[in-house]
């Protein structure tokens, strides 16, 4: 079951720059993975209830309570650029 995939588009959406060789290599690998998924999808699943999680668990809530935050210097110091206690990035909109 061959699967067609636009690997260049996938790379672009994920903001990953790939060379032509890499596009070819990862394209084949992804196609293999999706072909396997196709085989799984072909299994007869009639009468089996759909699940979204292997364990019969739901919610996993926490109570609405405030906890500790990080010292801003601890993470701002890792950023390429900061100003006045904020992260600084180049202009967002293009022309």
């Amino acid at each position: 079951m061959p699967v067609d995939i636009d690997i260049a588009k996938v790379a672009k959406l994920a903001r990953i720059a790939l060379t032509d060789d890499e596009l070819d290599q990862y394209g084949h690998q992804l196609e293999d993975i999706l072909e396997h998924a196709e085989r799984v999808q072909a299994l007869p699943t009639e009468g089996i209830e759909p699940t979204s999680h292997p364990m019969p668990m739901v919610n996993g809530f926490r109570r609405d309570e405030v906890g500790e935050c990080l010292d801003p210097d601890s993470f701002l110091s890792q950023a390429p650029d900061t100003r006045d206690g904020q992260f600084r990035v180049p202009r967002i909109l293009g022309e």
């Binding site: 588009k9 672009k12 959406l13 903001r15 979204s52 999680h53 668990m57 739901v58 919610n59 996993g60 809530f61 926490r62 109570r63 609405d64 309570e65 405030v66 906890g67 500790e68 935050c69 990080l70 801003p72 993470f75 701002l76 100003r83 006045d84 206690g85 904020q86 992260f87 600084r88 990035v89 180049p90 202009r91 967002i92 909109l93 293009g94 022309e95």
Partner: protein, 484 residues
């Protein structure tokens, strides 16, 4: 709207919940905190951090859904909405896709052209992004910025998105919808719903079509509209722009636009984002949500009275529709109205005082009703005095403002200012008799069937009593004594 055209409008509203902590971590929801001081590994998307949902936020969204008459899905799922933007630390927003918490609701609004039922497609749970400040020569405008500063205190704040069906048709209806939704959210107490502060904001979809055309036209989406007035203006502007475009032989482009308050125009966003492919998939870090029937029922039982019900109750009590709306919109006015009515006041009179004289006086003194001593009991006392004929309605207004100014109880003020009306029939009768005796001509004319001097006689009695006699009693007595 130009004859021959019809607009189709849908609104997406984002409401920030005012929980104590964020949606998936324990950082505080604090808009006043210094930049980046309410952040942790989860809301900054540091590697390995895992989200844990806030139970209160789920309870709050169920409240909103129930207030909007939605079905609450017993099972719902969190999805990842993938896109790249500097204010989004994880490069995805945790949101919902298929199976939102609430679906298929509706809301009744009252617009100038009558009542409209607006379908609610869905209400889903998500998280807010960080806050961007665009810095440059353009005075904060994104197009002129040369760089952007990012504060992630808001990243991860619980955000509820409420999506309508395309059921709105006019700018006024869009505004009425936004206004009613804000009232509901405020009544539920789940958000401060401050449009100017961005804790409630609208994205508005507008398309136009020729009247009678069953097909929808191409729509535009104008994002982040932050006042009710702007909501109305955005829709009006887009309708005119699209109709003009089509009539000139052009066509509408499906696009995202933004509203410029200064120029009062929408303009297309020029975005680097080329593809709107969010590649939604279920978030593997989060379990399915389950809102059990007992939980839902308990939340339903805890809902406060909704604004529409409150307005209807005030109208039922005797207030007119406009006054009922003003009262229901103000906690300070409504609590006093309810206290006064509970203490036996005339609801119609008190509604008029509160929404007219009280509001006008507060505006004059630039005051807040809760900073004054005016109580429901004061209003009830004043109402009782007017009903008993002890105070004329115009004197009551003077007593009312003096009460707001803290001069004492209405009765004390009326007595101190010598405003009490004389309703005692015996006392007034003395004055009437004196006036009739002194004006035998007038009395004779009335006896001959000429009613003209009646007003003169009543005026004389009022003068005799220094204006304090109850005019109703005076009138009755003068009539009885002259017409036999």
């Amino acid at each position: 709207m130009k004859p021959g055209w019809e607009a189709v409008i849908g609104v997406e509203t984002h409401v920030e919940l005012s929980t104590r902590s964020k949606m998936f971590c324990r950082c505080p929801v604090d808009v006043d905190a210094a930049p980046n001081t309410a952040c942790c590994p989860v809301c900054l998307a540091l590697p390995g951090a895992l989200p844990v949902p806030n139970e209160q936020a789920i309870e709050d969204i169920v409240k909103i859904g129930l207030a909007l008459d939605c079905a609450i899905n017993e099972r719902s799922l969190f999805y990842r909405k993938n896109y790249f933007y500097p204010d989004l630390p994880k490069n995805y927003q945790i949101s919902q896709y298929t199976f939102p918490v609430c679906e298929h609701g509706s809301i009744e609004i009252e617009a100038e052209d009558g009542p409209v039922t607006v379908g609610i497609t869905r209400v889903h749970m998500e998280e807010d992004t960080g806050k961007s400040t665009h810095v440059g020569d353009g005075g904060g405008r994104i197009h002129d910025a040369d760089h952007t500063l990012l504060d992630f205190n808001r990243a991860g704040v619980p955000l509820v998105e409420i999506v309508t069906e395309p059921d709105l048709r006019t700018p006024e209806q869009a505004r009425a919808y936004g206004s009613e939704l804000q009232r509901i959210v405020l009544a539920l107490g789940v958000s401060d719903a401050k449009l100017e502060a961005g804790s409630m904001r609208f994205d508005v979809n507008v398309s136009v079509r020729r009247t009678g055309d069953p097909e929808f036209g191409t729509r535009t989406e104008t994002k982040n509209v932050n006042s009710l007035r702007s909501l109305q203006r955005v829709v009006a502007f887009e309708i005119d722009r699209q109709v003009e475009l089509i009539e000139a032989g052009g066509s509408v482009t499906q696009e995202t636009r933004h509203w410029n308050e200064e120029t009062a125009q929408t303009a297309a966003m020029r975005s680097k984002e080329e593809s709107e492919d969010y590649r939604y998939f279920q978030d593997p870090d989060l379990l399915p949500l389950e809102v059990s029937e007992p939980w839902r029922d308990a939340i339903l039982a805890s809902l406060p009275e909704l604004p529409a019900d409150r307005r209807a109750r005030y109208v039922e009590a005797g207030a007119d529709a406009a006054a009922a709306e003003l009262l229901a919109d103000s906690r300070g006015l409504s609590s006093r109205f309810e206290e006064a009515v509970a203490a036996g006041a005339n609801a119609r009179t008190v509604a008029i005082w509160l929404t007219g004289d009280v509001v006008a006086h507060l505006r004059r003194i630039d005051g807040d009703i809760d900073a004054t001593v005016l109580s429901g009991d004061h209003l009830a006392e004043l109402s009782a005095m007017v009903e008993a004929g002890e105070l004329s309605s115009s004197a009551a207004k003077d007593v009312l403002t003096a009460t707001i100014d803290g001069e004492g109880s209405p009765r004390d003020i009326a007595e101190a200012k010598d405003l009490m009306q004389v309703s005692d029939v015996g006392e007034i009768e003395v004055a009437v008799d004196a006036v009739l005796a002194a004006n035998a001509d007038a009395v004779a004319k009335i006896a001959d069937g000429d009613m003209k001097p009646m007003g003169f006689l009543i005026g004389q009695v009022m003068r005799e009593t220094g204006g304090k006699a109850d005019p109703k009693v005076v009138q009755q007595l003068v009539r009885a004594k002259t017409q036999g």
